[in-house]
């Protein structure tokens, strides 16, 4: 059977599952049934998309008799959408598998199940849509059902606020995309992507479309400063949904951006790259700094998503810059790095959110300050989370490093760019990327060290039990994928090349043909990396060392109380906390980024009361960008509120005045 119909059947199945879930949700067996069915549907779609991608099949398009009568619903699978279908359905399948076990703890499954399946269908449809109308419809479906999922635990006032802010930003984002497509379609109004591609846009309008795409897709992806909803909404949803929102939905937003800017918009201007690099660099740095300051595990992960989106946008910016200067091979390298990071981030961020969900279902906690010592109670989860932490910290030989390495290689080609603006901007963005990579490692040392190592900081953590087998299977599958993508990066890179070829007209050399499975982005004399060999080296030298030491050295091992310089304190409160761990970094970076102020209040001499330490941090982006808008809306609403309490005479006169005014405008206009 052809690829596209099969995937469409899977999507239709997901929508049917959503409907069935509404009917079934009262029954006990609804949870495993719905997640099991969603798992199968996603797995089928994944296999189909993967087969399409690896076979290098030609693009296929179908026009369904739905939607606008003169347009129909265009769906299309090409190299780019096949790539993102893989990401969406891989994440979807594993989140569903996890849900089979995790969903049992859900108090109100009726609030999650139907939306979960619809959410998966929505994301698939965004990637498949090939006309503006169905794209926006699918985008809106994705936004609205994810909003419903954020609101799943609606009794928590924080979640309601998160959902409200999410709804406002999502509507605003969709509006921007609507306008962007309006401009793209031009006065003739050809809304299918084929017509849009054919139409040419003036440079000014092109720049406007770029700005609108940044606002619309960038806000969904979580680009600073449009990110404010993300750290609120992602943690509020159930954890497997958080994994989907952070790992997959942000990627669908990236897909939207790439589709509009790289595919539909036509040839780029070089200064567009400057904008993307600036947004990307700031997102990367501010995202990870904010993550470092968090004590809520899931919110921390959400902020770290912002950092990764920043890195991806740096890659996209480089690709635009190279593309605008007629360097297709270099542009393909940068785009490959960005898309590889898209894939990797979907894997390890999904893994980390699933791990956070496991901790949440075992202990009921999201607050790092209450955790500790979970490595003893939840051995497999701890291992999986550690693997995710290593992967996201870009440490070899896992996958995070491979894409980061490619990104650095792309930066190193950029002195060839002729424009001075880019010559300054690219190394600066490279430095920001290096700085944020180091901070990510710091952040995940903090997370793993505080949550899983040390001693338990609360009674419930000391009693935690390992989670069910389905959840563990989903996490371990992701660990395996992280390792495989890390030691065989060439396979992923090769799978990305058709998309790069389609969008930029250039591609990297074929990586599977390289000796020893190394990756060679430009030429071997210049740079190459072999994840497999590095992995074997590390395992080999660790193995040899361990064997040798155990053969030669004293093998006895005695357990005793901790040494701690001779003053071990049995109280777990004396351990470092998440907050104190981040304190040196807060002093170094936070005074500028968050205006962090520390205050120590010492009691008067002789007073036996406790000393108090207070930290104040400000969210400058909220204060400068959002608070004024919220204030203006508030004031305007209060003013306009009076209009609701007028007498009938005044209403009638208002209507009359409005009519006269409109007629006058018409007269003058014509």
């Amino acid at each position: 059977m052809a690829t596209l119909p099969l995937i469409l059947i899977c999507v239709a199945a997901l929508l049917l599952i959503a409907l069935a879930a509404v009917a079934l949700s009262r029954s006990e067996s609804a949870t495993p049934l719905v997640y099991g069915a969603a798992f199968l549907a996603c797995l089928t779609a994944l296999a189909t998309a993967l087969q399409h991608l690896l076979a290098g099949a030609a693009a296929a398009e179908i026009v369904l008799p739905l939607g606008l009568p003169w347009l129909g619903a265009h769906v299309r699978i090409d190299a780019l959408s096949a790539l993102f279908l893989v990401v969406v359905n891989l994440g979807g399948a594993l989140a569903s598998l996890y849900g089979i076990g995790y969903g049992r703890h859900e108090e109100a499954p009726a609030r999650v199940l139907p939306f979960f399946a619809a959410f998966l269908a929505g994301m698939n449809l965004v990637v498949l849509a090939a006309d503006a109308f169905s794209f926006l419809l699918a985008w809106e479906l994705m936004s609205l059902v994810s909003w419903a999922l954020v609101l799943a635990h609606h009794r928590d006032p924080e979640n309601t606020r998160a959902a409200y802010i999410y709804l406002v930003t999502a509507s605003f984002g969709t509006m921007c995309l609507l306008l962007a497509f309006g401009l793209l379609a031009g006065p003739a109004g050809g809304y299918d992507f084929e017509a849009i591609r054919a139409a040419a846009l003036s440079p000014e309008l092109g720049a406007l479309v770029l700005a609108l795409a940044l606002l619309g897709a960038g806000s969904k992806a979580g680009l600073v400063p449009f990110h404010v909803w993300l750290p609120l909404a992602h943690p509020a949803a159930p954890s497997h949904v958080s994994a989907l929102m952070s790992g997959v939905m942000t990627k669908v937003a990236i897909y939207g951006f790439i589709r509009i800017v790289f595919d539909l918009l036509g040839p780029p201007d070089w200064w567009w790259a400057m904008i993307l690099l600036a947004f990307g660099g700031i997102s990367a740095l501010l995202g990870i700094l904010s993550a470092l300051m968090q004590q809520d595990l899931k919110r921390l992960l959400a902020y770290s998503t912002i950092e990764n989106i920043g890195i991806i946008f740096i890659g996209l910016g480089l690709a635009l810059g190279f593309g605008a200067n007629g360097m297709p091979a270099a542009a393909a390298l940068a785009l490959t790095a960005a898309l590889f990071h898209v894939f990797n981030h979907a894997l390890f961020k999904g893994l980390l959110f699933l791990g956070a969900g496991a901790v949440l279902s075992a202990t009921g906690l999201r607050d790092l300050e209450q955790m500790g010592g979970l490595i003893h109670r939840m051995k497999v989860t701890a291992f999986a989370f550690l693997a995710g932490a290593v992967a996201i910290s870009a440490l070899p030989p896992l996958n995070g490093f491979a894409s980061e390495w490619l990104m650095f290689q792309a930066v190193l080609i950029s002195p060839d760019l002729p424009q001075w603006g880019l010559k300054v901007m690219v190394p600066t963005a490279g430095a920001m990327m290096a700085l944020s990579a180091a901070l990510v490692a710091a952040c995940f040392v903090k997370v793993f060290g505080i949550a899983f190592l040390g001693r338990p900081r609360s009674a419930i953590v000391a009693e935690a039990k390992e989670v069910d087998r389905f959840s563990l299977a989903a996490m371990l599958a992701l660990v395996l994928l992280c390792l495989l993508a890390g030691i065989f990066p060439g396979l992923v890179i090769d799978a990305i090349q058709p998309a790069a070829q389609m969008l930029l007209g250039g591609s990297l050399p074929n990586q599977s043909a390289q000796p020893w499975l190394s990756i060679v982005p430009v030429a071997e004399s210049r740079s190459s990396y072999n994840g497999l060999l590095v992995f074997i080296f590390i395992v080999f030298s660790a193995g040899v060392t361990t064997l040798l030491i155990h053969r030669v050295a004293q093998r006895r091992l005695r357990r005793g109380p901790a040494w701690d310089c001779g003053f071990p304190n049995p109280d777990p409160v004396t351990q470092y906390t998440a907050d104190s761990f981040a304190q040196p970094l807060r002093r170094v970076f936070g005074t500028l980024a968050f205006q962090a102020r520390e205050q120590v209040e010492m009691p008067a001499p002789g007073d036996t009361g406790p000393a108090r330490f207070r930290v104040e941090m400000r969210d400058l982006i909220w204060e400068t960008c959002y608070a004024p808008i919220a204030g203006i809306v508030d004031v305007a609403a209060t003013r306009l509120n009076r209009l609701q309490f007028l007498t009938i005479r005044r209403y009638l006169s208002l209507v009359f005045l409005a009519l006269v005014g409109l007629l006058l405008v018409l007269v003058i206009w014509l």
Binding site: S528, C565, Q575
Partner: protein, 319 residues
């Protein structure tokens, strides 16, 4: 035949760095002591320390996890692999194409990641303080190092360390401002990464000033021996790295005759000696900084390295 030769050089290199690392540490200690008019420990003392530690039983805290016991080996393996990829007396190492400078930086990052986690495993306050400060230092030192790598990669047209070293000998590189800035930045990073004065004090056991020592406080016996050996390897690695990138003269090319190899070994020993002496001299002539002065020190390194990279972007395009 050539393959076997290269393989031999590669393994010789792995053993040489392992064998020489304690000697370099002992040498620095000795020179420091002599400069302070002390007798100092014998040159071979670090070897004896390691052997003594290996003979002792390991005492592990009751609540230590598997990570605590596995971490020393992972730290050592990552550092050793990184050290094996840095050319010492000969370029053209068998496996140098499998990992470039960025990988070496990242491997050292992996070692640090596990060291910091090991420090937090037992849940003592000193372990926490050490880990927390270590990641703060690393968060500035690592990007500075990456920027130095960028500078060299832009000059040599490659991120492969062997290629960089060969390029630096043969091509007309000349004196460049970028190179000078990069060298200064790399030395600052090396001092911070190896926990030397003024950033950290390798000899201290005064709790409030220590970073590296605080993380390994709970280790004993064979575990401590492995961690100490990794720290010594790291010092050797940085000296070799600076030598290979900035002073590659005398280094033997791949497949050169025994005479060239002998010359390579001799110049390498001389470079290590000079590097160790300068380190000792620097350490005795400066006081340790407060912890919160360190970000200023490393921030300067980062800015210098960024400046070096920017200059490279401005002046020359990448062949």
């Amino acid at each position: 035949m050539a393959v076997i030769g290269d393989l031999l050089v590669q393994f010789a290199q792995m053993l040489v760095v392992l064998g020489l690392a304690p000697l370099l540490t002992g040498f620095v200690r000795k020179v420091k002591a002599r400069l302070l008019r002390r007798q100092g420990p014998p040159l071979l003392q670090p070897y004896r320390d390691l052997i003594r530690l290996l003979r002792k039983e390991a005492v592990v805290a009751e609540n230590a996890s598997w990570l605590f016991r596995a971490a020393p080996y992972m730290i050592f393996a990552a550092t050793w692999v990184a050290a094996a990829l840095v050319p010492t007396f000969a370029t053209g190492l068998m496996f140098s194409w499998s990992a470039d400078l960025i990988v070496i930086v990242a491997l050292l990052g992996s070692a640090r990641f596990f060291l910091a986690l090991a420090g937090m495993d037992v849940g003592t306050s000193f372990g926490g303080i050490g880990a927390s400060r270590e990641v703060m230092i690393a968060s500035l030192a690592e990007p500075a190092m990456i920027m130095v790598v960028f500078t060299l990669a832009l000059i040599a047209g490659s991120t492969q360390l062997s290629t960089v070293a060969t390029h630096m000998i043969h091509a007309e590189v000349g004196l460049r401002v970028s190179l000078g800035l990069g060298l200064i930045a790399l030395i600052m990073v090396a001092i911070a990464e190896n926990a030397r004065i003024p950033v950290d004090n390798p000899a201290t056991h005064l709790e409030l000033t220590m970073v590296h020592e605080a993380m390994v406080l709970e280790y004993s016996g064979r575990h401590l021996a492995v961690i100490e050996a990794a720290a010594m390897l790291k010092l050797l690695l940085y000296v070799s790295l600076i030598a290979a990138m900035f002073l590659p003269w005398g280094i033997a090319a791949s497949g050169a005759g025994p005479a060239a190899y002998a010359l390579g070994v001799a110049t390498y020993a001389a470079k290590l000696g000079i590097g160790g002496f300068l380190l000792a001299l620097f350490e005795i002539s400066i006081a340790k900084m407060r912890v919160f002065r360190v970000p200023g020190f490393l921030g300067a390194a980062l800015m210098l390295a960024l400046l070096a990279t920017l200059l490279m972007f401005m002046t020359r395009s990448f062949g």
